[in-house]
């Protein structure tokens, strides 16, 4: 219990990923959904870095850098979309943005 190993980091990563997934599925404010996606990406980064440490391969950390790049691009485009939708429809509730729903 007190000796922290690879399993502890992977379990923490799984817990964090599931919290993020739950938020992304269950919340209605689209900014919160974006935050939950960030939590999920961070959870993946934790397991990548833990693998890199415990298996002795630096490639995991290289992948984490790519994940961060994609996360930054995703937040920039996502917030632009949110602001654009808010300007046109006056809401950030995903239930009310239903123009492409039939």
């Amino acid at each position: 219990m007190l000796n922290v190993g690879l399993e502890h980091y992977l379990t923490l990563s799984a817990v964090l990923f599931c919290i993020g997934l739950y938020g992304a599925l269950a919340k209605r404010n689209v900014v919160i959904i974006l935050m939950c996606i960030e939590i999920m990406l961070n959870a993946v980064n934790i397991s990548l870095v833990a693998f890199s440490r415990y298996l002795g391969l630096i490639t995991g950390q290289t992948f984490a850098i790519f994940v961060m790049t994609v996360a930054a691009a995703e937040v920039a485009v996502g917030l632009a979309l949110i602001i654009s939708v808010y300007r046109h429809r006056g809401t950030v509730d995903v239930g009310e943005v239903d123009l492409m729903k039939w």
Binding site: N3, G5, L6, E7, Y9, L10, T11, L12, A14, V15, L16, C18, I19, G20, L21, Y22, L25, A26, K27, R28, N29, V31, I32, L34, M35, C36, E38, I39, N42, N45, I46, V49, S52, R53, Y54, G56, I58, T59, Q61, T62, I65, F66, M68, T69, V70, A71, A72, A73, V75, A76, V77, L79, A80, I82, I83, S84, Y86, T91, D93, V94
Partner: protein
């Protein structure tokens, strides 16, 4: 031993802050808790010996992405509504709990072949070699990532520009 105690403290802080992001109704407090969670993850990177990534985590997530998210919250004032749960609240909880149990069983059931841990070394040079070495490097993905960032930033400007 000390590292274990730090790990548990950081784990509690990270998971608590992430739960706060999901469960709080106030969007602004959720964003502040998200920043706390990012900082805790930077601490995890430090005790995992990933010094470069810890610095990058603070620069990009705590510095840039959090500011973007706070700007987004301020530009879309929804304080009276907050962040309510949708119709999927309980079905999603069941599905996510099942997924969590599955992942944890897979993690604890797999016999990982972990060797003796080497002492942590500075990783910046190793990451640079891994990215840019000519035989097994990631030069092309690196260039694609930079083009992706440029396209994302230009696209964001085009999307939010007033007609």
């Amino acid at each position: 031993m000390a590292l274990s105690i730090i790990f548990w403290i950081l784990a509690v802080v990270i998971v608590g802050a992430a739960l706060g992001v999901v469960l709080l109704r106030n969007v602004f407090r959720a964003a502040l808790l998200l920043i706390l969670s990012f900082l805790g993850i930077a601490g995890l990177f430090v005790i995992l010996g990933a010094d470069f990534l810890a610095a990058v985590q603070i620069l990009i997530y705590v510095g840039a992405i959090s500011v973007l998210l706070l700007m987004g919250i301020m530009l879309t004032r929804e304080q009276q509504h907050g962040s309510p749960f949708g119709r999927l609240r309980w079905p999603a909880a069941v599905v996510v709990a099942a997924l969590l149990v599955t992942i944890v069983m897979a993690v604890t059931g797999t016999p990982w072949s972990v060797g003796i841990l080497a002492a942590p070394e500075p990783t910046t040079e190793a990451i640079a070699n891994s990215l840019f070495s000519l035989e097994r490097g990631f030069v092309l993905p690196f260039e694609i990532a930079s083009v992706l960032l440029l396209a994302a930033v230009v696209g964001a400007i085009v999307i939010v520009r007033e007609k």
